[in-house]
Every structure is written in C-alpha cells, then in structure tokens.
C-alpha cells in the first residue's frame, strides 16, 4: 500500500476541514479524490503532500511514517491547478530544477530532462519561457517537473481546472495514457465527476470533511452508498418515491408493469442527441426522463401528451431521502 492516511483531523478555527479520515491508496493506481468545492479534498491532498499539517493522525508513504516529515523530504511530486511555473526559468530549467538542487551531474540532468520533455511532448519548447506556452502546455511542463524527481507518489490538485473544456478532455486522456506508461502512484483532486469516472482506477468521494464512499467508477455509479454519492456522480430524479437515474426511466404510451405511473409531459428539452422530458405524474411527482432523439420521435412525445413512466428493469434505485413515503 502506497499511501496510508489514518485518523486525520484538520480544523481551521471553527471550520472542520477533515474529520477522522482513514484512507488507503494502493500502489501504482490512479486515484481520484472527488467532491464538491470546500469539501476537504484539496486539504486531504495537501496533508498527504506535507503542505498542511494535520491536527491529529498520521500519513504513511510507502511504509515510511511521513507525518512529521516536511514536504521537501517526502519525495512527492505535486502539480498545482494554476501551474506554479517558475516564470523566469525556461521550460527545460523548470523541469531540471528538482535535479539541479539535488546536485546531480549536468549530463544526467540534461538526459533526464530530455526524456521527460519527450514524454510530455514539449521537446521543441525546451528553451521557451512558461509565459510563451498555452495553459495545457504549462500544465504538462509542471507534470514533467514533478516527475523529474522520480517521486514515490504524484499528487495533482485540480490539474485541469484552469483549462477550457476541449483541452481539459485532451489532457485527461493524455494523463490516463501517461499513467499507463509511468505507473507512478497518482492521486488527483477533481470536482468534475465525468473526469473522475473517465480517468481514475479508484474514486474516493469526499464531502464535508469526510469520506462518503471508496470504489471503482463502476461501483460508485452502479451501487452508490448513499444519496449524496448517487446525486454527485450523475443526474438523478425521483420516481415513485425512489431516487433513480433519468436514463433508467422508461417512457411508454401504455402501462408496462404494476410500477408504471401515469402522467403528462410538461416539458420537452432537446440537447444534441438526447431528449430530456419532464413528466408530471397524476400523484403530483415531477419525473425527469432521458431518451434518445430517435426513441422520443418514435413515441411522438410532445408537451401535454399522456404517458406512463416506469423504472427500467434492473435499474438501481434508492429511497429518496426527503420523500414523505
């Protein structure tokens, strides 16, 4: 086990940032800390890095108690949301920094920097300044810089948070491929559930200073431990007093089971290939359903139409927390 966090508490005045965190992160995996802003995920990452000191508890990295080690001695690579580039140094010098202060021989440093720039596809920009790079390139440089010291763990704090949607998607795929090549234990913080589901081997859902659930993307999506995890990982709606994913709601012109509820289509919203329906059931429940465009067209769905809504067989549902039922 690469990182073991046990009994960690951290308060800022009255604010509880982390409450009794126990977490084991396996070696060689890509783990996401997922949660809403202010939920404590960044604080947890910084505690692992040694950039924050926990009030209680311990952090063990690769079997070594790191709780009292300063960040300099932990041998962790840290990547910041806003790149934290050394603005006065060239790209190559940025990457070389960690090796140069370790007084490695010049030739070795040059060789290593060359390899890393190759790895992050920045070889032709070696002599540029960070200000001459795009956001995505700067973040790749920051990653190469963190990898240069051959860290035992790589920690990324919202690494793609400052980038626009397209670049973010590219970098996400690229990070996954990079990880498959380098295999360094990696933990990254994100508030974007799609990013976590797409990239991570394992997801830790962090909320209000505590851990809600740990599991693979499939486990979390298909068997969420509670309504928070369920609604954080994807859209949810209520149907017959239960939480259900809108794409698990079947819409038919006639009832198909005893669970079918009758209602009226109150809104039809077309988003690209998908159609989002709002159905007002006769019991007064508002149900959202997602269909493909073809399917919706075949059913001739329009506002005011009379329909039946039914949970798809095998769909995951859980009791809605605030429902009267």
């Amino acid at each position: 086990m690469s990182i073991e966090v046990s009994g960690v508490n951290k308060n800022y005045g009255d604010f509880v940032a982390l409450e009794d965190i126990n977490l084991t992160i396996p070696t060689g995996q890509l783990t996401a800390l997922l949660g809403p802003s202010g939920g404590g995920k960044t604080t947890l990452l910084r505690v692992i890095a040694g950039l924050e000191t926990p009030d209680t508890g311990s952090v063990v990295i690769e079997g070594k108690d790191a709780t009292s080690l300063p960040v300099q001695k932990r041998n962790v690579g840290f990547v910041f949301q806003h790149y934290a580039a050394f603005k006065h140094l060239s790209v190559a010098k940025n990457v070389a920094f960690g090796l140069e202060i370790r007084k490695r021989p010049k030739a070795e440093v040059a060789k290593k920097v060359g390899e890393l720039l190759e790895l992050v596809h920045l070889s032709q920009f070696a002599n540029r300044l960070p200000s001459q790079l795009s956001g995505g390139q700067r973040q790749r440089m920051a990653l190469a810089r963190a990898l240069a010291i051959e860290p035992s763990v790589l920690l990324l704090d919202e690494p793609f948070g400052a980038l626009d949607a397209k670049v973010r998607k590219e970098l996400r795929d690229w990070l996954r491929r990079l990880h498959d090549e380098v295999h360094v234990t990696t933990v990254f913080v994100t508030h974007d559930q799609e990013e976590a589901l797409e990239v991570a081997d394992e997801i830790v859902v962090v909320n209000q200073g505590g851990i809600e659930q740990i599991g693979t993307p499939e486990q979390l999506y298909d068997q969420p431990a509670n309504d928070f995890v369920m609604s954080f990982l994807g859209d949810v709606t209520t149907l017959g007093g239960s939480l259900i994913r809108p794409h698990d709601v079947e819409v038919t012109p006639s009832p198909i089971s005893e669970h079918s509820l009758e209602g009226t289509v109150s809104r039809v919203l077309r988003i690209g290939f998908e159609v989002r329906l709002t159905v007002l059931t006769d019991d007064g429940e508002v149900v959202t359903a997602e269909l493909t465009r073809t399917h919706a067209r075949a059913l001739r769905l329009e506002e005011g139409a009379n329909v039946f809504v039914t949970p798809t067989p095998g769909a995951y549902t859980m009791p809605a927390p605030s429902s009267a039922a």
Partner: protein, 247 residues
C-alpha cells in the same frame, strides 16, 4: 513625444550645449577643479553606498511588510512613506535637530560627510521598498510550495525562485534611489554644512557655480551627474537581466 521633448529632452540638450560651449578643455577644467571633483566624488560614493544599503534593507523591509503579521504594521506602512511625503528641507531640519550640534542622541554628525550618507539614506529609503512590495505581494504561494515539493529548502527557494522574480523591481528601485541620491539637495544642505572637500555635494557645487556667475561650470557638473546616472541605470538594467537569466 512632443510633451516628452518639451519636458525632458530639450532642457537636457540645453544643459549639454552650455556645458560644451567652451570646448572640451574648458569642460574638463571645470570638472578637474579640485573642489568640484571632490564634491562629485563624494556625491557618487554616497549615492552608491546608500543605494546598496537600500537594496538590502529595502528588500528586507518589503519582505517583512508583505510576509509578516505584527502589531503596528499599518503604522509602519505609513511611516515608510514619510521621507517621500516630507518636503526635503523639512527632512533636513528634522535631521539637523536629531544629529546636529544639540543632538539629543549625542550624535554630532553635522558638518561631516556622514551627514551626507545619512540624509541620502533617509530620503531614498522608500524607493526599493515601494518597488519590491507589490511584486512580492503578487508572487503566488504555490510557486514556493512547488519549489519545496521538489526538495528546495527555504533558502534555495528564496535565492533561486523568489529573488530572481524580484530583481527587476529591486533594480528599478535602486535606479530611482541612486538618481535621487545624485541630485539631493534640500535634506542634506542644512546638516552637512557644505564644507569644501569634506561634506560638499555636487548639487551644492552647482548652486555656488551659478551664484558665482559661472553657468558653464554648473552645466559641466550637471552634465557629469547626468552621464553617471545614465551609466548606472544602464548597468543596473544589465545586472538585472543577468540575474534573471542566471536561474
């Protein structure tokens, strides 16, 4: 451009023309006058020494103002600007009452060359502080954390990451401080006593040249000060570029 020309270029050219009106040898004669040469040397020496002090102390003060929290910080912020805000002759008066013949501190620096250094240090103190402070405030904390995560000690981080980011500001502050030191008059004229070969500075020498109906002499000294100031500004710029690239 026209505004700049009227305000800066034309008067500068006029000074140089006056200085060179008597030809090269007359110009050289004016400057090699023993009393004048001594005044110019004292001015340059004092400006350099005071600027060096400001580079170190000013950076430290800026650092303390930005990074440390302590009681009375707001007050210190205001006090730093007093040498800026004070009319220089008032500064001179203040210094005279503190370090003059009736010094409550027992420091009798009136009529000595020390007084020149003291007065310059007083009036040029804010330059480096005020240039460095905003740059230091804008430095991202994550840059220092990044350096630390790569294994850099606090000293290494300061020396290799923070200081290079500050050098342009330090150099600019130093240039202002030096230029002010070269031309300072009001704050030191009372305390220094203007003793030839001892505590007389170039600006005082210019005034006495004018009073003695020697405009060529005054212009020659002025041109000399101008040349030195320009040279120092160029040197500071070069030093700053090298420091930044050193990394």
């Amino acid at each position: 451009m026209l505004w700049f020309s009227l305000l800066v270029l034309i008067p500068l050219v006029a000074v140089i023309i006056t200085a060179s009106s008597g030809g090269w040898s007359a110009f050289a004669d004016q400057l090699t006058n023993e009393q004048t040469a001594s005044a110019i040397l004292l001015t340059i020496r004092a400006a350099i020494v005071v600027t060096l002090i400001n580079v170190v102390i000013g950076t430290v003060i800026a650092w303390v103002l930005v990074r440390d929290k302590f009681w009375g910080k707001g007050l210190l912020e205001v006090i730093i600007d007093i040498p800026f805000a004070l009319p220089t002759i008032v500064a001179g008066l203040v210094l005279l009452s503190l370090y003059g013949a009736e010094s409550p501190l027992g420091l009798h620096w009136a009529n000595t060359s020390t007084s020149v250094y003291l007065a310059l240090a007083f009036v040029t103190l804010p330059f480096v502080v005020r240039m460095v402070q905003p740059v230091l405030e804008e430095l991202d904390a994550d840059v220092e954390e990044a350096a630390a995560s790569l294994g850099a000690s606090r000293f290494t981080t300061f020396w290799r990451i923070i200081l290079p980011s500050l050098t342009p500001a330090i150099a600019a502050g130093a240039a202002l401080s030096f230029a002010r030191g070269m031309g300072e008059y009001g704050s030191l004229v009372l305390l220094s006593g203007n003793l030839p070969f001892k505590s007389e500075v170039a600006s005082v020498r210019i005034l006495s040249a004018i009073e003695n109906d020697n405009p060529e002499g005054a212009a020659a000294i002025a041109a000399m000060l101008l040349a030195v100031s320009l040279a120092v500004i160029v040197v500071l710029d070069l030093v700053q570029r090298r420091m930044v690239r050193r990394g």
